[in-house]
Structure formats: structure tokens, C-alpha cells
């Protein structure tokens, strides 16, 4: 418990002024523009959009600027802003098969239709600091990447679509969605209850803290909740978004979003009701966010343990544990609330400890 504390207004004003000055940094250096942050810190911007659960690159870049580069704080700003906006529409489900692919790799099939497309990846870089970037004019913008004669194949089948035809992988179809007009459960509109089900889990994972999900995914790979995953496919690119405006009654395209999708393929021994086959974990994240999408897919699969008749033996398989602790705004708020005044609580505990010590020493004297 903490009690309201008055006073300190002048100190708070001064603290805010300090924060503003420190955020701005050396006034002799040019201030960053939002456009520079949006374009040149695009992966930080992507993380803010994913965990802020609001796709708007300019807004996320502005939040990062305001937050002095603190991504978690920027996510909080975006979440707070989101609550001020009316929800005007629900989009039609993204068709990731129709993605304008910028990157697409599979660790399960070398020669998959459409090919392996590396795109703008850190993979195969040597992770050596490039001091040329520190030079004032070290960057040559006049050196564009090469282009092939032909664009990518129009058809880029998803890995599951390839395995699906042989029945070797569990199917996922819109038959899983018996009433296509029914609203999708939404954790921003109703408090979470357990069991939450996969739709709410995927929503929570998509906006969950990347670090937490990464560690959980890692724990499952190391044996805490055994999985045998393969990265069936990872793809990144832009997808057109459609809504059906009430006034029109037909779908219209409103724009594009960049997303990263990961299909994990897991070995499954089979159960009384299901034959041995591959099962699936799914990751879908706003922006270019491959690490997050892969972690999400691993955790999604692990959380399906009860549905697949597997024993729940590890944290990563425990829906209530994972969903209760994956949100960076909630976690940050609860940890950091400890710095708020707890003077009365602490005074009470101090008194209690003193009483216990007196009692203990009194007993010691009488024995």
C-alpha cells in the first residue's frame, strides 16, 4: 500500500526540465528528426509498433525520440496514445501468402518453390564494428543494392501448404473459425481469463515483450518443455490491408503493413486421436522482427501442449504463467511501482520487526 503524498511540485518540475534537457543532449549537435529515426532506426521503431500494438511508424519514431531512446518507455507512450483513439474498423485477415516478399528463408527445404531470398539480413555479417559509419561522410548513399533482371516469383507457397498436400502436417483452415462473422476475442476489450485459448494467446504473444519471449523460447529449446522445432519458413515483407467500411459494404484497401511471419514445424509423436505428424507454431509480428517472430512461434507451439495431449511440465507451456508476465508495460509498471512512497507500510513493518526482536530477546533473558 502507498498513500498520497503532497509537496514536491517544484522538485518535479525541475526533474522534468532536466529530463527534457538530457533527452535533447548537447545543443551544439543537430536534433534528430522523426523521419531520420523512422528510417534509420527502423528496427527499434518496429519493436515499438509491435509491443505498443499500434502500427504507425511516424508515431513510434516520435515516441522513441520523446522517450530518450528507451524502447519500453516509448511502447508505454504508444499504448497510452492508442487508448485515445476510437476504433473505426476491424480489418479482414491479412493474407500473408500475397505478401510482397523482401525476405523468405526455409530451414527445412532447400529448393522450395520461389527460392530462398535473403533480403536485408544481419545473418552472414561478421559482427565487426564498421568504423566507416562513424566518419562524417562515411556513408555512400549513391551505392544502391543490386537488382535482378526479373522480380521474384509471384507464387511463394507457404511451407505448410507444401507439406499439407501429403497430410504430414496438421492442417489449419478457416474451418477452425466456424463463424467467420463472429468477433475475435480481444484482450484490449475484456480482461484475460484462463484458459484463454489460442486466439488470445497469439494476440498476447504478438504484443508481448521480445526479451521475455526470447528467453522462454530458449528455455524450451534447452529442454524445459521439450520441442523439436524446425524453422519451416520465415518471411518478411509488406501486406495490403483491407477493411469493409460500413457505408460501402465491400472491401477496400487502406494501405500496407510490414510484417514478419514464422512457421515453426515440430515433430509430434501422435496421440490416441491424432496420427504422428508435424505440428505447428505460428509467429506474426508487425515490422521486420525476425527474432521476435521465431520466439513467438516456439512459444505458441509450447503453449499448445494441453491441446495436443502433452504434459505441462515447464513454464513455457503454462498459459497462465506466460500470458500473465509477457507484457512489458504491465511488468515494468509493477516492478517500478516499488519506488513510489511506501512510507506507512514500511513504518508498520519496522515496528513489527522491533516488536519481534524485543519479544525474542525477552524470551532469551527469561530462559
Amino acid at each position: 500500500m502507498y498513500v498520497a503524498v503532497k509537496g514536491g511540485e517544484a522538485a518535479i518540475d525541475a526533474a522534468h526540465a532536466q529530463l527534457a534537457a538530457r533527452r535533447r543532449g548537447d545543443p551544439d549537435l543537430a536534433a534528430l528528426t522523426v523521419a531520420q529515426i523512422r528510417d534509420q532506426m527502423a528496427l527499434a521503431v518496429a519493436r515499438i509498433m509491435a509491443e505498443g500494438s499500434l502500427y504507425d511508424p511516424d508515431l513510434a519514431a516520435l515516441a522513441l525520440k520523446q522517450a530518450w531512446g528507451d524502447v519500453a518507455e516509448a511502447i508505454f507512450l504508444v499504448r497510452a496514445y492508442r487508448t485515445t483513439l476510437p476504433r473505426l474498423a476491424v480489418t479482414r485477415p491479412l493474407d500473408t501468402a500475397a505478401m510482397a516478399v523482401q525476405r523468405r528463408v526455409s530451414a527445412t527445404f532447400k529448393d522450395l518453390p520461389g527460392g530462398q531470398v535473403l533480403g536485408p539480413t544481419f545473418d552472414y555479417t561478421h559482427r565487426l564494428i564498421d568504423f566507416a559509419l562513424a566518419a562524417e561522410h562515411g556513408e555512400d548513399a549513391s551505392n544502391p543494392p543490386p537488382s535482378a533482371e526479373e522480380p521474384l516469383d509471384a507464387a511463394m507457397p507457404r511451407i505448410a501448404d507444401i507439406l499439407d498436400t501429403d497430410g504430414l502436417i496438421e492442417p489449419e483452415t478457416d474451418a477452425d473459425d466456424p463463424d467467420p462473422d463472429a468477433p475475435v476475442p480481444d484482450l484490449t476489450r475484456a480482461p484475460l481469463t484462463f484458459p484463454a485459448g489460442r486466439a488470445l494467446r497469439l494476440q498476447a504473444l504478438a504484443r508481448g515483450d521480445e526479451g521475455f519471449l526470447l528467453s522462454l523460447a530458449y528455455s524450451s529449446q534447452r529442454g524445459h518443455g521439450t520441442t523439436h522445432p524446425f524453422a519451416g519458413e520465415i518471411r518478411m515483407g509488406t501486406v495490403e490491408v483491407e477493411i469493409i467500411p460500413e457505408d460501402l459494404g465491400f472491401p477496400v484497401t487502406i494501405g500496407v503493413v510490414t510484417v514478419t511471419e514464422c512457421q515453426m514445424v515440430n515433430q509430434f509423436q501422435g496421440s490416441r486421436t491424432a496420427p504422428p505428424q508435424f505440428t505447428r507454431g505460428y509467429g506474426l509480428v508487425f515490422g521486420f522482427a525476425e527474432r521476435k517472430a521465431m520466439a513467438m512461434a516456439l512459444v505458441d507451439r509450447a503453449l499448445r501442449a494441453p491441446d495436443l495431449g502433452e504434459a505441462v511440465v515447464a513454464p513455457v507451456q503454462d498459459e497462465e504463467f506466460v500470458l500473465s508476465h509477457l507484457d512489458v508495460v504491465e511488468a515494468s509498471g509493477f516492478v517500478q511501482h516499488l519506488k513510489l512512497p511506501h512510507y506507512v507500510d514500511f513504518q508498520a513493518e519496522l515496528d513489527a520487526v522491533r516488536r519481534m526482536r524485543r519479544a525474542a530477546s525477552g524470551e532469551g533473558a527469561s530462559s
Partner: protein, 159 residues
């Protein structure tokens, strides 16, 4: 794949095509095209630009049951334009982002394009060049991606 997608009548299909182009086009190009509209109409605001969100949905595994991925910002707007034939046509704009002017321009062109007296000229002068620009941009990006496609070859070892 998705629900509520009966095949649209030809007029609706044409309108969906131009609304898509208007949403995806860069706003400065729309602004320039608006300046070039001959005999500019006097539009009335039917619904002023409103900024809100759309909840983006995905499907588990890409093809399964729907789930909420997260929201995106969305601006919508509606304008009414009286045609030379005396009919009033309402144009709608719904575009990603906090983009009042973009939504407004999309709505203005949507209203004008519904007017049979203007449609062919505007399609030729505005929509087709923008569609070509978007397709060229998509193709350029795809060709860049294709340059990083891996060509595997197998090393024959031994002898």
C-alpha cells in the same frame, strides 16, 4: 479465403481498384493531381477527417482461425460533390496512418470517379499513372529482393 467476399459487380470492382490506388499512392502525387483537375468542383464535407484505429487481424498459421494482431492508425473521411447532371455523389477515403489530407483527397477523387462524365478522363489522367507507379515500385523492390535469392549448387566430391 476471407469471409464476406462475394464477387463484386463490375462497378464495385472498378471502384475497389481506384480506391486501392488512391490509398496506396503518395499524398503529394494526389495533391498534384488534384491541382490539375479541370473544372474543379465545390465539395461539401459529409464527414470530416477522423483519426482512429483499425484492428488488424491475422490467421493462426496464416490460414487458420482469426486472431487480433494489433491495431493500426486509420483516417477516414467523406465528401459530397454535386455533378453537372445534378446528382450528388459521396466519396469515401479510408487510408492508413494519421493522414487527414490523404483521406480527404482519396474521398474527393472517389466522388469524382463515380461521375460517369468524369470517370474516363480521371482514370486515364490520375488512376492509371498512379497504378503504373505503384506497380513499378513493387517490381523494383521485388527485383532487389530477387538479387539476394540463393542459387544452390551441389559440389561433386571424390572421383
Amino acid at each position: 479465403m476471407a469471409s464476406a467476399a462475394p464477387s463484386p459487380d463490375p462497378d464495385t470492382a472498378a471502384r475497389q481498384r481506384w480506391m486501392r490506388v488512391l490509398s496506396l499512392a503518395p499524398v503529394d502525387r494526389l495533391e498534384a493531381a488534384w491541382r490539375d483537375v479541370s473544372d474543379p468542383p465545390v465539395p461539401r464535407t459529409a464527414r470530416p477527417p477522423e483519426i482512429g484505429t483499425a484492428m488488424v487481424t491475422g490467421r493462426a498459421g496464416g490460414t487458420g482461425a482469426r486472431f487480433n494482431l494489433g491495431e493500426m492508425t486509420l483516417t477516414r473521411c467523406a465528401v459530397a460533390i454535386d455533378g453537372a447532371d445534378g446528382a450528388t455523389r459521396v466519396g469515401h477515403g479510408a487510408v492508413a496512418g494519421r493522414a487527414s489530407r490523404h483521406a480527404e483527397l482519396a474521398a474527393l477523387f472517389d466522388a469524382l470517379l463515380q461521375d460517369p462524365a468524369r470517370r474516363d478522363e480521371l482514370t486515364k489522367a490520375v488512376i492509371e499513372p498512379l497504378a503504373a507507379f505503384l506497380e513499378e515500385r513493387r517490381c523494383d523492390e521485388s527485383r532487389q529482393a530477387a538479387a539476394s535469392r540463393v542459387d544452390f549448387f551441389t559440389m561433386v566430391r571424390g572421383e
